[in-house]
Amino acid sequence: MNEILDWIIHHSPALIVAVPLLGAFLTILIGKIGPRIRNVFVIIITAITSFFVLLLANYVFTNGIKTYVFGGSSTSIESSYAIRILFEIDGLNAFIAIIAAILPIVAIIYSWAFMKEHTGLDKYYTLILLMTAGMLGMILTGDLFNFFVFLEITSIASAALIAFYLHKANSVQAAFKYIVISAIGALFLLFAIALFYGQYNALNMAVIANNISFTFIDKIALVVLIAALAMKAGIVPMHMWLPDAYGRAPASVTVVLIGTTLASLYGLFRVIFTIYGNHLFTVDSSQIALVLGVLIIILAVVTIVIGVFMALKQNDFKRMIAFAAIAEIGYMFLAVGAALSTYTFEGSSATISASGQMALKGGVFHIFNDALDVGLLFLVAGAVYYAAKETSLNKLGGLARNMKYTTIFFLIGLAAVSGLPPMNGFASKLIIYQSTFQINPLLAIVAILCSILLLATFVKVFYSVFLGPKLPKFSGVKEVPKSMLIAMGIIACIIIFIGLFPNVFVENIVTPAANALQNATSYIGGVL
């Protein structure tokens, strides 16, 4: 038994991508047998994938970095460069992979009832599994070109799913915008990869990180990578595709889209802290680290403020959550920028200050919380649309009388995303507030004020959608089917669990991820 488990753990990096990829193509065939068998098959595939992710994450959190080489037992290093493609998993990508594994499970359970009335569901589930494979590939890979390939797989599958409501012009338009933006982002990413390859004759992240000499071309590559990945992550002012895509895609797809956005954010962190980490945080480059930190803080503050203000103004349920999601990404970015700006130097070694370390922990913790909180709110929006066939806040009202459980899930999501105690969002935002306050009190003040506005935004939704008199046109509205409630319930339970026991989560999962961010040398050591 142990031998089998060891074998699974050893090959888990490959299996995590291979299982959903194979499952995606088999779904079409299984779908010919019948929709029920197909639905069971898809959930089994995602459950197996998640099981492998959890096994791998547990291994990484216990034993440290895991490197998996494709097509051989060693990386074939000659003159300090790796020949083979490899996956390298440290605390950071293990952490992000857990999020990417949870979201598709919830989305698929939710889809059973939510998408039941639609045709083309074989293709729908195939694309969801392709998205999952691409997302997990982006997260686990240790090769930059491989990252680009998985990014493309994810983008194409995502665009097709955003346009799933083909009869709605807005959905097709949103998908078109998404694919154009993704293609431009991917092209620039490829350009940066070409710059690295031209200079260092390598595509492996660890090898590039080891050899990087911070030439003028490296600076160009850094700027291009930051801009391209920040656009894919939805940082203001490159965020405009996000409300279109999140708002027009089916709610179950939006939940997985959140994962792909976070995978891009992961890529951004990997570039800054790992590929450039060893060179950026030296005495010679200390000025650059500080300036980069300040630039990221500025973008983060703009992202939070514009995200919140635009959310407050929206009258479409899903579009409002999409803007709130942008603001939430700003909080993560703020924490990372704050951490970057606090590097101190003793001799030739760079160390991050205590408040910077705490900010980094808060930022990483918030990645997980954001995926859950925003994901739950999108599922609630989908449930409201399913029941009332309406998403306009001007037309909805009084639904709490008909949809009691959905209302409770919305309140949990509202409290969590606004950072109200004792929900998970409070724990991560508290860490971000306190650490950024020590770096610059003004940052904490802006962050807290925007959180209050975020609460006001969702109070508006609560009032407009759920409170008020029972409207005659919604008198026939019923609570959504059980599978949708179960999907929302799973996320709500995780939110409450993390909210009640944040320390367990921070100590065992968040801290290894934050430490991995600060330790580029270990990542390089995993290959060289």
Partner: protein, 119 residues
């Protein structure tokens, strides 16, 4: 016996403070009980199915249900009206035109590039 529970209730320490939801929960329950007791001491003059339960709009008749509900666009109207100047700028930014989306990307990349090259 309850050793497994110990790590769960450990306090989350931040750099300059701490957070323990269990302590918060206990404080919340105590506060709730105190409020509930004080509320119980209040006057009990509420009578169901009497004029007390009717909607009172300065003596005007009640509108039909759909007209009674304040739609989302009217919530925080004062806030958005007061910040109209700001929202006009934000709206101008969100054109929905994909060329503008790409333009913003190029602008940000250009700003980053200039700053990084200058350093």
């Amino acid at each position: 016996m309850f050793e497994w529970f110990e790590p769960l209730i450990k306090t989350l320490t931040t750099d300059s403070g701490f957070w323990n939801p269990i302590v918060w929960g206990i404080v919340f329950i105590i506060t709730f009980l105190v409020v509930y007791i004080i509320r119980g001491m209040g006057k009990k003059e509420y009578k169901k199915n009497t004029g007390q339960t009717q909607v009172f709009l300065s003596g005007n008749p009640e509108y039909e249900k759909e007209k009674m509900h304040v739609p989302g666009a009217n919530v925080y109207w004062g806030f958005t009206e007061a910040l109209k100047w700001l929202y006009k700028k934000f709206d101008k930014m969100h054109t929905g035109n994909i060329s503008d989306y790409v333009l913003w990307f190029v602008i940000i990349m250009g700003i980053f590039l200039v700053i990084m090259v200058v350093i």
